[in-house]
Structures are given as structure tokens and as C-alpha cells.
Symmetry: C2
């Protein structure tokens, strides 16, 4: 019998790569990549395709949702808002702890695209590498959000469809994700996490700092090159 199809949301970063490695244990993979106007898109798409080649993924969908850039509100898509450095942990203040790199409600867009595609290609699972603890306080990276979204899928798709979002990393720390990736031989050297984007990762942005901290605490060298 053919394996069931699972869609994996693959940004090209480490978390999505480890998520793909987990999904590959039980499913035939279909990869979805969403360009939402982020600064480092070209580099992320390159990482997506390299990871897809590694897993010999045939069904690939690359979707562009430029409207998130038009709507604005985030340092990741709006060049007038600077990307913060040295800001790996949310500030504890009375202000909102949401960093300026938060793209408003972004993951709802990604999931909606994944669900529409799942209905058409008859995939039963949608894997997303969201991480609750290390997510810098992004509200749409929390388990409650995904539980609520599963209810939206139940109520908003054809009655015969059974599509479920799976978040295998949601309660893992970054070092645990690194260890899981190493254990499953995920191609971490092909991934890209940096928010700035050039030939090498900057090593200073929020995303690089979280990644480097994860490798350090896991006691594993990060296989990608960094500036300086």
C-alpha cells in the first residue's frame, strides 16, 4: 500500500528541516514553501530546494504571498523597520513582548495554503516546525494556536476530509531540536536561518543567536558558515 502523503512547511531553516526528517519516517513528503516578501527569500528558497532534493521530494509547491509585505507591520517584510540585534529573548516589560520581527498572523496564512493544497492532493497531515518556547513570543507559534486551527480545519473543509496539523517540535528546546536533527541525519548543513541574508549568516540577528545557542548547548558544531 502506498504511504500516506504529508505536507511539510519548509522555510529552509533548521526547525523545518528537522520537522521534515521526522515526517520522512512515516510519510511520503510533499514540500510547501511560502515567500511572504521576507528579506532573505532567495537564500531561503535555495535552502528549501536543497532540502527537498536531499529527501527526493517530487511534490513541491512554492507560493508567493506578497500581500503580507504590502500590509507591512514587521521588520522581516518592511525595510523601514530595522531588524533588531542581540534580542534573542523577549524583553520583560509592561509593553507587548512581541518583537518587531513578528509578521502579523503569518502562520495562519501558511496553514491556510497548506490546507487548501492538502484538500486537492489528498494529504492527511500538515507538519510545521513551530517551537513554542524558543519562538521569541510570536503568538502564532504556540500550541493553543495550532489546536484552534485544527478546529477551523474540521469545520471549514469538506466533511470527508481528515486533515490535521502536526507540530512535532512544539515543546522542544533549540538544543533538543539540534540533537533530534543529528539523530535523524537531517541535512542541517543545507539550512538557512539568518534574518539578514548574504553569502554567510550574520551571526548577530535574533534568529542566528537562537540557532547558535542551540548548537552550543547541544554540544554540536553548527555546520553552516558565519561572517567574521
Amino acid at each position: 500500500m502506498d504511504q500516506e502523503v504529508a505536507i511539510v512547511l519548509v522555510s529552509g531553516g533548521m526547525d523545518s528541516c528537522v520537522t521534515a526528517a521526522i515526517a520522512a519516517q512515516s510519510y511520503c513528503l510533499a514540500f510547501l514553501h511560502v515567500n511572504y516578501g521576507q528579506r532573505t527569500e532567495a537564500r531561503e528558497l535555495e535552502a528549501f530546494n536543497r532540502i527537498a532534493d536531499h529527501y527526493r521530494v517530487e511534490q513541491r509547491l512554492v507560493v508567493s504571498i506578497e500581500h503580507l509585505k504590502a500590509i507591512g507591520g514587521s521588520a522581516l517584510t518592511d525595510k523601514s523597520i530595522p531588524v533588531p540585534e542581540h534580542n534573542a529573548l523577549p524583553a520583560s516589560s509592561m509593553q507587548s513582548p512581541i518583537p518587531s520581527t513578528y509578521v502579523p498572523f503569518r502562520n495562519a496564512h501558511l496553514l491556510s495554503i497548506a490546507v487548501s493544497w492538502a484538500e486537492v492532493i489528498d494529504a492527511r497531515k500538515i507538519f510545521i516546525g513551530a517551537v513554542e518556547e524558543d519562538s521569541s513570543g510570536y503568538p502564532d507559534c504556540r500550541e493553543v494556536f495550532y489546536e484552534a486551527f485544527n478546529r477551523v480545519i474540521e469545520t471549514g473543509t469538506k466533511p470527508e476530509t481528515r486533515i490535521e496539523i502536526v507540530t512535532p517540535l512544539i515543546h522542544l528546546t533549540k538544543p533538543a531540536i539540534v540533537r533530534k536533527g543529528v539523530e535523524l541525519q537531517a541535512p542541517l548543513k543545507l539550512t538557512w536561518s539568518c534574518y539578514q541574508g548574504s553569502e554567510k549568516a550574520c551571526g548577530r540577528c535574533e534568529s542566528c543567536l537562537l540557532r547558535l545557542k542551540g548548537f552550543r548547548e547541544a554540544g554540536v558544531p553548527d555546520p553552516i558558515p558565519y561572517e567574521s
Copy 2:
């Protein structure tokens, strides 16, 4: 004090026009139109702008999500699937009663865009003219779907945001919607509902049949021109 802002999802059809008329009673309006690759887009956008002009709406956002067309699966976006005629009511069979004009999970995409925009422009309400009874069985037109989506908004946006989806037509019949539109002086003559799309409405597609039935049962003439 300034009026609170409400985003209204305006397709250009009758239901969204009446929804705008309801929202206009209490809110400053912002109009959102989403092009998802449907066949009649140019005509719908024209209707959107005419209705927006009527209500003197300054904040307008027109967003294109061509990926629903790329994903396919619906007669509305895929030219290889014919638009059914004389199919105003779901067939009662053991098969799925979902018609071929269903665009998989479409309303989740529309709502996600509306919520992202609401976070940026500080709108508190999102009005959508979904109708449960007359919706031909589209699963994402039912109240349970919107209730579930409100929970996704609660969990997936910044803690200080208070955004809520409002569905004032959800339990109305088409004739009740027509009567409500007439009562509120909604510009029904500016609307467009036909799934085919040419100079005049076809009068035969599912959407035209529902609309014509609504006007007939309300005892009000439909102010738009039809073919033949």
C-alpha cells in the same frame, strides 16, 4: 471620539454589499477585496470599487492570491472544471454535497488577510457576508467555522489585539438579505454575483439562481441586467 474601524470583506456581490451597509451603521469602514484567480475577477473588482465609492471608503486593500488558482480544485478558479448550471441546491446523495464551485478552504485565506491587515490598521471588527443556509453547502460558510476562527485569532495575534469576525447575515435567507439591503439603502444595483461573467449576468449559474430566487421571494425587482 473617532469611530472604530471595521474591515469589511467586499467581493462585489450582494451579500457583501448588504454586510457593508450593516457595518456602516456603527463603524468607519475599511474595504478588503481578494482576487483568488476567479473567472469574473475584473467585473467583481469594478463592483467593489463602485460600492466603496458609494460609501466613501478611503482605506481600500485589494489583494491577489493567485496561489488558489495554482492549487486548483474548483470550477471557479480552474477552467478545466465546468461551472454547473441549475445546481442551486446541494444534491442529496451519499456523495459529498459540496459543489464543484467550492474553492478549498477559501474563506480561511480571506480571513487571514483581513486579520493581518486589522492588526496593522488597528481595526477591531472584520465583517464578512457569509450565509449558512443559502451557501450551497460550502463548509467554510458555516457559523461553527467562524466561531473556530475567532479562537484562532485570539490565540494567534498579539495579546493586546481584540479582533473579532462578525457575520451579520449568517442565519438570514436570501430574501431576508434583499429586504435588509433595501431597508438600509444598500446600493444593490452596483453589485455583481454571476459566476460566468460578461456584460450582463447569465441568470443561469448557481449564484445567479440563488440571487434571482432571493429577489423573487422578497418581492423586489433585481436592479441589475440579465442576459436574454
